[in-house]
């Protein structure tokens, strides 16, 4: 057989092995389907409408650091921050002795269709912050904004700088019009009024768009790779937890989504300082407290070029950027992120306490 000819016997054996693994995978998936996300104990401390504020039970001796409030995105569920014991940034924070609060925005329905960004940022987020301040009798909290929640946190901190001690943004878009941002390019011509007229936008619809960003990897290769992994039950359970999270996307309140797409993606208002909430202009230069900006260097949803410009937009003299060599999802679940991110944040906060 020439060197340019694949060995048919080897190819046949490969397919045989794939068939064996497929069979084993299908058998194993039945058990893995019941794997539930979430691992750390938490209790509900406040709620309003669909929004709930949770406080996590401590796992270690308190580090003596101001509590940290996590503001997650509206577009996915926040349990990604605490998926399972070995894939949980929150667990990393708890192990470091931090006092952790998390905002769960819930699942908006038709009754929430007129909730706009002002309701979310100056309303719910503000009242969550106030709840933490009241509980601890402190003047300001450490705020960690994740993805879209990071954009919200930037707006909030600019409007209420006295209530935020330190600001951490993670995989957060700031400049929404950079050349690598495919999502941004796609929505430039979107008629947002027509979109909002139809009511809340379904999570399935958003998922379809996210899958369209890398359709071959996300709708095809991923499931072949799953089979290649064979019947390792732990791997299958990991896969199913991720699968559950990816497609567990809340509908988006029509008014808030319309504003978010128009103001941020289409008009890039955060960069030119023309976002206005409740009559007040969001001026990022008013963010003078320490800022830690963590971004993923391989992020296809929020490319680094969307996050990095924060450095020149905020008013603080204490700005730190930290790149993690992972993709967007990897920031939550990769082994690298588990090693780097919680310890980095905890150390950074301790230095500024």
């Amino acid at each position: 057989m020439s060197s340019a000819t694949p060995d048919p016997q080897a190819l046949a054996a490969e397919m045989l092995e794939f068939g064996r693994r497929l069979s084993a995978t299908l058998t194993g998936l039945g058990g893995a389907a019941h794997a539930r996300p979430g691992c750390s104990e938490k209790k509900r401390v406040w709620s309003e409408d669909k929004v709930t504020l949770y406080r996590y039970e401590p796992l270690a001796r308190p580090a003596g650091v101001t509590p940290i409030l996590i503001c997650y995105a509206l577009v996915n569920r926040p349990y990604m921050m605490d998926l399972q014991v070995d894939r949980s940034l929150i667990r990393g924070f708890l192990d470091a002795g931090l006092d952790v609060y998390l905002i769960d925005w819930g699942y908006p329905d038709g009754g929430d269709r007129f909730n706009d960004l002002d309701d979310y940022i100056r309303g719910y987020l503000h009242r969550c912050v106030q709840q933490v301040l009241d509980t601890h009798q402190i003047p300001s909290v450490n705020l960690l904004g994740v993805c879209q929640g990071g954009t919200f946190s930037l707006c909030y901190t600019a409007l209420y700088p006295q209530r935020v001690k330190n600001l951490i943004t993670m995989v957060t878009p700031v400049d929404f019009k950079t050349p690598e941002n495919l999502l941004s390019k796609w929505v430039q011509g979107l008629d947002v009024n027509l979109l909002a007229q139809g009511g809340n936008v379904s999570g399935d619809c958003l998922n379809g768009i996210y899958l369209s960003l890398m359709p071959f990897r996300l709708t095809q290769q991923k499931y072949v790779d799953m089979v290649q992994g064979g019947a390792d039950q732990r791997q299958l359970e990991n896969f199913m937890r991720m699968e559950r999270w990816i497609f567990d996307s809340p509908d988006q309140a029509a008014a808030a989504l319309r504003q978010f797409v128009q103001w941020f993606y289409q008009e890039n208002r955060l960069v030119d300082g023309s976002v206005t909430l409740g009559g007040d202009r969001v001026d990022l230069k008013k963010i003078v407290q320490p800022v830690l900006n963590i971004y993923a260097s391989k992020d296809h949803l929020v490319p680094p070029s969307a996050s990095v410009p924060l450095a020149r937009l905020v008013g603080t003299a204490d700005y730190t950027a930290h790149a993690v060599e992972v993709g967007h999802i990897g920031m939550y679940v990769s082994a690298r992120a588990q090693r780097e991110v919680p310890s980095k944040i905890a150390a950074w906060l301790r230095e500024r306490e």
Partner: protein
């Protein structure tokens, strides 16, 4: 497989077929070049689709079936005249044929995927919402003319609504057609890129880029994503995506308008009425909040105590 099959009946069926596959493999191992028997169990399962197969299996079965088809294409490539197996290039061509079929299927699915809301079937919509049974409806041939003809008479407004809906639907379908053309382009470019990469790499390339079906598959995916990325960023494709969303939203808005009109006729609550109530509730809540006693301002941020280091006094 020696493990006892667990789980649902489908898992058991798959496990049983796997056993059969192994038997077949043992029988045919003397003549491995004929690999067709390797795949007999998979079509059996695929043939049962639609008769109670779990939805996830139906959806992902297409992905795995595609993968098996790749293997089949690679193994069934006819031997050369000298009796040796076909070379890598011809096997890659067989591979590409299978992947192109897949592209065609995927393009129609993904055309819908980027859609914000699925557009309705015009005929069905017309029949269920606009027309009493047996009433006039234009045939396909008369459709274009009917869309432009002046609306007249007692049902004038309904005729106009239908004309508008038909125009919007035609726009939506036109965008879909243009998007499908982009996908054909992506498929063709991917094939070219893939062939070039296979030729450049060869089976002995470092990393075994073409040494196995899986590595070829991965290479194909990589090529497809690269080509897709180039097209997806282009102004034309971005415009099409926005047009697709806008045209489907426009169709839906027109549907909604008609449903509202029907709801009013039957004295059912309409979306407009519910929206009005929502606005009122929101305003009332805002008023209540503003009237509630304002929270005391947050305590001032305590200034850090300045530590004054004093020199120890010299002993007197």
């Amino acid at each position: 497989m020696t493990d006892t099959p667990r789980g649902d009946p489908w898992s058991s069926t798959v496990a049983q077929m796997q056993q059969e596959l192994l038997q077949l493999w043992l029988k045919t191992s003397a003549a491995p070049a004929d690999g067709s028997t390797l795949f007999e169990w998979w079509p059996k399962i695929a043939a049962m689709a639609g008769s109670g197969l779990p939805p996830s299996f139906q959806q992902l079965g297409a992905v795995w079936e595609q993968y098996f088809n790749l293997g089949r294409a690679m193994l069934q490539e006819p031997s050369g005249e000298d009796g040796k197996g076909a070379d890598l290039a011809s096997r890659a061509r067989s591979f590409a044929v299978v992947m192109n079929t897949w592209f065609e299927q995927l393009s129609s699915q993904l055309g819908q995927m980027a859609n914000f809301r699925t557009a309705p079937d015009a005929q069905l919509w017309w029949q269920t919402l606009m027309q009493p049974p047996g009433a006039w409806a234009p045939g396909t041939g008369a459709k274009a003319a009917a869309m432009e003809f002046a609306a007249l008479g007692l049902t004038r407004e309904r005729q106009e609504a239908w004309q508008k809906f038909s125009r919007l639907l035609a726009q939506f379908q036109e965008v879909q057609t243009q998007l499908a053309a982009q996908w054909i382009k992506i498929g063709a470019e991917t094939t070219k890129k893939f062939a070039a990469r296979v030729s450049a790499a060869g089976p002995d390339a470092p990393g075994g880029a073409t040494a196995s079906i899986k590595s070829l598959y991965d290479l194909w995916i990589e090529c497809a994503e690269e080509v897709y990325g180039g097209v997806a960023h282009s102004p034309e494709y971005c415009r099409l995506i926005a047009d697709l969303a806008n045209s489907s939203n426009a169709v839906r808005a027109e549907q909604q308008r008609e449903l509202e009109s029907w709801a009013r006729q039957f004295d059912l609550p309409t979306r407009a009425e519910v929206n009005s109530l929502h606005h009122q509730v929101k305003e009332l809540r805002a008023q209540l909040r503003s009237q509630a006693s304002p929270r005391p301002p947050p305590p001032p941020i305590p200034k850090k105590k300045r530590v004054v280091r004093r020199r120890p006094r010299a002993p007197k």
